[in-house]
Every structure is written in C-alpha cells, then in structure tokens.
C-alpha cells in the first residue's frame, strides 16, 4: 500500500465503537408546524460491522443518515437534538470545513439512484479522481492510476477502458459500482448505503450485495445499510434496527430479530412478505396506512395499527426495553411484569409532579 498523505485515523473509542449516535432528533418544518421525522434515535456501529436500518417509506430511516452526513435541507429541516461521536468528536459540533474533511474521506455514502448521483458531463474516472484530489495531495497521474485500481476493486471488467467512459454508457449495476468506487476512494471507515440496490434487478442486486460483503471482509469497512427489503437485511447485515414513525421500535442481531421478533410491527412486516419459497394463501396485513408525520405524540406510534394494543399503549409511549442478547424492543408487551410496575410507579410520579 502506498504511503498516503492523509492524517492517520485515530484509534477507535475505548468502548470499541466506531460511531455512537445518541438521542438524535430531526424535525421537518412545514406550514409553521414541526414534524418529527426522527424523534430520538440511538445508533452504535463497531468497526467492520454491517447494521441495517429497515422500515417503510416515511419512517425516518434516510433522515437519520442525512442528518449524520450534514445533508439536510437547511430551510425545511433541522436537527433538534442529539450527538454523534466519531473518534471522540461530535460530528454535529464540527464546523462545515471540518465536516468536509470527515465526509467523503472517513465516512462516505452511496445513494439509491446512481444515475442521478453521478454527473453526466464528466467521465467516471474524473469523478473518482475528484474525490481523491479533494482529500489528498496527489499528482493527477497517480490519482488516475488509483481510479483504475478502485474500478478493479469493485469488479468492473476492463477498468482501463471504463475509466474514460461517461455514466450513461454504463448499466445501472455498473453505475452503482462506480458510486461504490468513489465512496471507497479515500478508504473510509464507514460506508453509508441508502437503498443501494432498490433500483436494480435481482440478479444485479445479488452481485452488489456480494460486493459490499467482500469489501467489509477485505477492508474492514463498517456499513450502515438503509433498505425497505427484509431479504436484503437478512442476506447482508449483522445487526438491524426497525424504524417506525421516527423511532426505533426494535433492534438486535439479525439472527435474533428474524428468529424471534418481539414488536408487533416487526412481526407484521415479516409476515406480510409474500414468499418465493412457499405458498401462503393469505398474507398477513398490517391494517391502516403508514401514518403521515404528525406532531409529537404521547402514545405508542404504532397504536393505531397494532393488533395487540392494550390501554397503556394509548396513554404513554413505551421505552426501548432491553431483552436478552442485546435485543431491544419498544413495546409495552415486551416489557416484563416487573418493568411494568416500575414504569407505573414512574408514571405515577410524573403525574404527581
């Protein structure tokens, strides 16, 4: 490996976590109302780990990572609270200039639609080199050489040729590979992938998922994968977080959550998927609609659609209850009897005050 003119990455935090997000709240402002798109999300990422954030449209999964990357629309959205520690520094306290040095170099991102994320008037090589030259002092010729190597790394055939082509000359799968090459240009520690395979055909999707898995194994990159597809999560992720209405309703290792989902929403989502492997006569359905964003509520966000709701769910929002093996679930039913008593007492004191 060449000696690179970069700041050596600092050692990860003592607790072995690469990124720690706590209490993240991002609100959108529309017509004078504050709409909580993300309403208190915690996230932890260890080196080399792949964490999936799943949920349906409007659950806030993209907003979480957009806030992290400082990509919010400054007029319509604002981060209200929360911290994100990366190498001992709060990403949100960084000045724009400092953030620019982290973003793209240490944390990079790929998007759903590669054709709209790539610039049509520059060659693929130019766009990879732009990223390299922005973050590192390197002669152009070497940067170009790196670009070719990166294209080879993401399994693009005949990279010497492809490097001079324009995005429209490549297929959708190739374009997404180029996006990944750009994201990898400065050897980031974290790769954020926002629905990276949604626009692709299944056979191509399988190739891209395989590539992400290889990159993690080879380079030790931690990945935050955002998707609505439970199958993609199961195929790739170590841990997963299920989001609904701006909060995490369930999280844990994939193995655990798929084997024993505890939140009624997670269970519903899994049961609602038609299967290519077996015949289901009737699919389980979650009644109602994915709710529109509304002002902050006191009750459980899934209350209106939940088949297991009890009175309590309409009165107070459940906390994220700690279960076995690191699984956590935001549901009163998952909270054991003891917890319920404790909560009731707590609720009592709140009411008294």
């Amino acid at each position: 490996m060449k000696k690179q003119n970069t700041v050596q990455p600092e050692a990860p935090a003592k607790d072995g976590k690469l990124l720690t997000v706590t209490g993240l709240k991002t609100y959108y402002y529309s017509g004078g109302r504050a709409l909580p798109a993300v309403d208190g999300v915690d996230l932890e990422l260890r080196p080399g780990e792949i964490v999936g954030i799943v949920g349906e449209s409007g659950c806030g999964k993209s907003t979480v990572v957009r806030t992290l990357m400082g990509l919010l629309d400054p007029v319509a959205a604002r981060r209200e609270a929360g911290q994100a520690f990366f190498h001992g520094r709060d990403l949100f306290s960084l000045k724009e200039k400092e953030l620019c040095r982290v973003r793209g170099r240490q944390i990079s991102m790929i998007f759903q639609n590669p054709l709209s994320a790539l610039d049509p008037v520059y060659t693929v090589g130019d766009q990879i080199m732009e990223m390299i030259l922005l973050h590192e002092k390197l002669p152009r010729r070497q940067a170009r050489q790196r670009a070719v190597e990166l294209l080879r790394e993401v399994n693009i055939p005949s990279p010497e040729l492809r490097v001079d082509q324009y995005p429209h000359e490549l297929s959708g799968g190739m374009q997404q590979r180029v996006m990944i090459a750009i994201a990898l240009a400065c050897r980031p520690e974290i790769l954020i992938a926002d629905e990276p395979t949604t626009a692709l055909d299944v056979t191509i999707q399988a190739q891209i998922l395989e590539l992400l898995r290889q990159l993690r194994d080879r380079l030790g990159i931690a990945v935050i994968l955002i998707t609505h597809n439970m199958g993609v999560v199961a195929a790739l992720c170590d841990r997963m977080m299920v989001m609904y209405g701006g909060v995490v309703v369930e999280e844990g290792s994939c193995r655990r959550v798929f084997a024993a989902p505890r939140h009624p929403y997670t269970r519903g989502l899994l049961a609602a998927i038609p299967s290519a492997a077996e015949d289901k006569e009737v699919l389980y359905t979650i009644p109602g609609q994915v709710p529109a964003l509304e002002a902050p509520v006191q009750r459980c966000r899934f209350f209106g659609r939940c088949g297991c709701r009890i009175d309590r769910c309409g009165e107070k929002e459940p906390p994220l209850v700690q279960l076995e093996e690191g699984q956590r679930c935001r549901c009163w039913l998952a909270a054991g009897e003891e917890d319920q008593t404790a909560e009731r007492e707590e609720a009592g004191t709140v009411a008294d005050a």
């Binding site: 799968g173 055909d201 190739q207 999560v233 199961a234 299967s275």
Partner: protein, 327 residues
Amino acid sequence: MQTREAVLEVENLQKYYPVKKGLLLQREIGRVRAVDQVSFCLYRGETLGVIGESGCGKTTLSRLIIGLEQPTGGEIRFLGQPAGRRMSAGLRQRMQMVFQDPYSSLDPRMSVRRILEEPLRIHTRMTAKEKRQKILPLLEQVGLPEEALKKYPHEFSGGQRQRIGIARALVTGPDLLLCDEPVSALDVSIQAQVLNLFRQLQRRYALTCLFVSHDMSVIRHVSDRVLVMYLGQVMETADKKTLFEAPAHPYTKALMQAVPVPDPTRPAVGAVLEGEIPSPIHAPEGCPFSTRCPHAQERCRAQRPPLYDLGGGHAAACHLYAEEAVR
C-alpha cells in the same frame, strides 16, 4: 378433462424497435427485439404471471396486447377475435388494465366518481343511477368507503389509489385484466393488503389475468401459471408449482437463487450470475442467456433453442433439454 376456453391467444408475437443514427436519424443501424416470438395461451379463470428483469419485454408485451403498441409481427386473439390495435370497441371494454404507478395513472382533476364512471360512460349507455349502482358495490369490494367518491386522487395514499385503479379496471366487468407491476410502487405492509384484495377479487369474479412483475415472490403469490422472459424471449413456462419447485431453465434457477430471502440463517449464496443483462440492441445471436449461463456450450451461442416441451405444460427454451423433450 373438460375443454378450457382460451381467453387470450398470443402467437409468435414480435415487436421490434428500429435503432436509428446519422443525419436526422434516417439510417437504421439495428433493431431492438423488445418482444421476440412470444406465444402463449391464457384460459378463462387463470392468472398468468410474467416475470423478468428490466428490458425483458414484459411491459411491452402487455402494451401490445391491450393495443397501446403496434406489433411488428405475430397474432393476438382475444375471445377468438383479432385484438391489439385492431380491436373493436365492443372487445376493447372487455379487456382492462391496472398500471404500475398509482400516482400518474389517475387523473388528478377527476373525482373518484368520475374516474370510476368514465369506463361506463365510454362503453355503455347507462343512466346516472345505473352507473351508481354499478360503482357502489365495487367500491366496497376494493375496501373504500362511499365518501371516497367525492374525493380526488391526491387525498389518497398509494395503496388506496391502487385500489381505485383496480376498481376502475373492474367496473366494465372485463374478461381479461392486465396488471403491469401493480404493487411494486407500494410499501410492504400496503403491498400485502393489495395482494390479498387481488386474490379475493380473483376468486370472486373468476378473473382472467395477465400479471406482470419483476418480483418472484409476488408472482408466486398471485399466479396459476408463470412465463419467464429474458431479452424479449420466453425462457420457460410452467404451472406455478412446477416452476418454483422444479425449475428447468438455468436462468429461472439463477433468478430464484438471487432473490434475498428474509432468513439470516440461510447461508449466503453469493452472486449466482456473473455479468450484466446484455443490451437488447446487441442481443446475443443464439440463446439470449448464453453470455451469462454457467452451462453455455458452443451450440447455445450459435443456435437459438426452441421451447422444448417437457410435458405437463412445462416448457423450457434451453438446449440442455433437447434430449428429454416430449416429442
């Protein structure tokens, strides 16, 4: 066995698009074979699922059948009469379509009442009262309240709009329903609702459907028989059970393995197919799948395999089955 009534017969259907280049695009340099020698038969009461990746011609196929495109060659017969562009008005109302995007397929300036009445206004001479009598039960069937009639499409969510789209397609009591990716724009929980509704309607009205989708699991859920397409050609056709449990064509097998299964304990299979779907302009000479097929031989690259009949309505366009084929 009682004879089944063929609702739709498609024979050797072809649709080629010329690729033009040069001054004023006058020179034809090639042809895209969007649909190439596709033949099948759709019987009353059954649902035929058409599956394939982008560029396989599944959407063009449904557009040819309903007459939105003029075929280059071949024949489409609907209820025994020529269909497609040449369809008579009487025949036209008996074939309806549900579109993919519930946002662009409903006119935003029309109330739901007008949307649902429009097919009746065009095809029948019903009085206002008759139309209303026709619409109301259907509205209930698709799970929308009566108040919905006064509302406009923007007041509904994607799933509800798709219900409106389905009701509109059913209002003339069609003999054939064409569905082009009707659930792919919807969220999982909403998709399940619409798929269940679809299943109910299939049973209740004994619908005959051509259901186009890129999603294997959706196709498995709704179809009786399945047609697998690749680069404009039929790769395999079989009843659902055979196709999903004992697929013959290497492409069908690969397609099935590529679907991510929501089960993390299943060992990762990795990418099963190398390479990309070839551009349809430069489609391979022989078998269209020969560039990616793990079993490809010299013969596959030179000669296009016919659909070999494997018995029981199962057929695969692959030279591997040349010997086994039922003569």
